[in-house]
Amino acid sequence: MENQPLLKVNQAGISFGGLKAVSGFDLEIHQGELIGLIGPNGAGKTTSFNLLTGVYVPTEGDIFLEGVRLNGLPPYQVTRKGISRTFQNIRLFNDLSVLDNVKVANHSRAKHSMLSSILRLPSHFNGEKEMEDKSIELLRIFQLEHVKDELAKNLPYGQQRRLEIARALAAGPKLLLLDEPAAGMNPQETHDLMELIRFIREKFDLTILLIEHDMNLVMGICERIYVLDHGQLIAEGLPEEIRSNPKVIEAYLGEEVSSDAQG
């Protein structure tokens, strides 16, 4: 049992109209790993996240989480099974407070019923209190407690990105998917983000799969890297292997990048 991968993707694919956005996608992630997914623009990275989270139903292949087949489950059930994500273009609940954003993600772990809330039974108060405590604790970890009553849309960009990760964690995932978490951040901010990702992995005993174009980040923290191009895997391996893989250099990195990234 120990050897069963947390996530196993078997020849998954999807087409839009005639376009095969992803095909023959294989992926195996074990408990506790931190994996990178890279590839040129339009390679199908975000689409593969959408497959994993039930936003799109794969037209071929299978997806298993801890041996349970996920194909065809709607996103909210996939989340309850243990995969949660952030979005390439931030999707916060803009007009909700920071705290409520996190509470929403706590939703499916709370038990109190609609009736108990409408009648304001004790179970409602207990349930809400518990949600609130848990959420505040998360915000504290992400250094967002001081802005908990702000509306999400009023946060600066960097805090919005962090809030999105906090929110995803509140859903209690085993596997966390991050789609370009460092997009639009400068090197310093990116550096802080790397620390944060490492930290939450330890703290929450998480498995993480992330998409990123910033090679400093990817090469810096990922243990293994998958490379997609035109919807297909072209390489898989350790950061050093990927960095020197000619196919990857041709399709994605460009010739001199190895020297640049060190700079």
Binding site: T46, N50, V55, F87
Partner: protein
């Protein structure tokens, strides 16, 4: 039941819906506003045509041109006064304003001339042909012909001319359109002018074909035209045409089968069924939000 006759009836009715829906869908396509006042512009067109014919003794075509011109002006005025300020606001705010404008025009009109109906004079003689046992009136042929021609013209304007390209650019992204040097206000005004002049034309045709016009005449056809536009895929010009015809034929067939009281219900049932199976209308692309 006389199938051919009913089909003819349905297409005549449907082409009126189509004519109104064309303008509707055009405006919607560009600024995504359900312009409830469209029905009232249609009403104004009918009355302007009426006054031109009955009051000033003009012929059909001059009356049609005047009505279209006045309605174009009305459309631009409505946009300028009521919608432009709301461009940055929620769409629902614009929708409520549109409902407000629609009521305002109706009752301003009633205030000045009363609610009683008016009868259109017969300006073009109406002949009836007998084809395959069905009676076809020359007027309904004319209306169908006009809608088809206008549809083609509109399609041409939107897809082939410079102003059409500007319209499409504005509809996708107003700020980016500005950066191309497109004058967004002018473009939207032009859209309203074209859409409203179509409504005006529809008003005159309606008056000639159905004779009766009254200040609240825009309400139901306005709603039906909206339904037709949604049915065809909102914002899509040929969709409005087809949606209008489908609606007309469905209504006629249901009445023809003796369920005239269920006619509107049937139209809505068809609409809902189409939306459920093809949520963006007959011609709409099922564009899912890209995640």
């Amino acid at each position: 039941m006389d199938w051919i006759q009913q089909l003819v009836n349905g297409i005549s009715l449907g082409s009126i819906y189509a004519l109104i829906a064309l303008g509707y869908t055009m405006v919607y396509g560009i600024i995504k506003l359900i312009n409830f006042a469209h029905g009232e512009v249609f009403m104004i067109g009918a009355f302007v045509g009426f006054y031109a014919i009955a009051g000033w003794g003009l012929g059909f075509f001059p009356a049609l041109i005047i009505a279209m011109a006045v309605c174009a002006g009305m459309g631009m005025l409505i946009e300028r006064v009521a919608y432009r300020r709301l461009r940055g606001s929620t769409r629902i705010a614009a929708l409520i304003t549109a409902i407000g404008i629609s009521l305002f025009i109706q009752y301003l009109f009633i205030y000045f001339r009363g609610a009683q109906p008016e009868a259109y004079p017969e300006v073009i003689s109406n002949q009836t042909f007998n084809i395959l046992g069905a009676q076809i009136s020359s007027q309904s042929l004319m209306i169908l012909g006009t809608s088809i021609v206008l549809m083609i013209v509109l399609q041409f304007i939107v897809h082939k001319t410079k102003i059409g390209k500007a319209m499409r650019a504005v509809s996708h992204d107003m700020d980016a359109a500005r950066l191309m040097g497109i004058n967004v206000n002018t473009t939207i005004s032009a859209t309203f002018a074209i859409g409203s002049s179509l409504a005006g034309a529809a008003g005159v045709f309606f008056g000639v074909y159905y004779t009766k016009i009254e200040p609240l005449m825009g309400v139901i056809p306005g709603l039906k035209a909206f339904v037709a536009a949604v049915l065809g895929g909102i914002g899509i010009i040929p969709g409005a045409m087809v949606g209008g015809l489908v609606l007309g034929v469905v209504e006629t067939v249901v009445s023809g089968l003796g369920y005239s009281l269920w006619r509107d219900a049937a139209a809505f049932v068809i609409l809902i069924l189409i939306l459920l199976f093809k949520p963006s209308g007959i011609f709409g692309k099922n564009a899912r939000e890209k995640v």
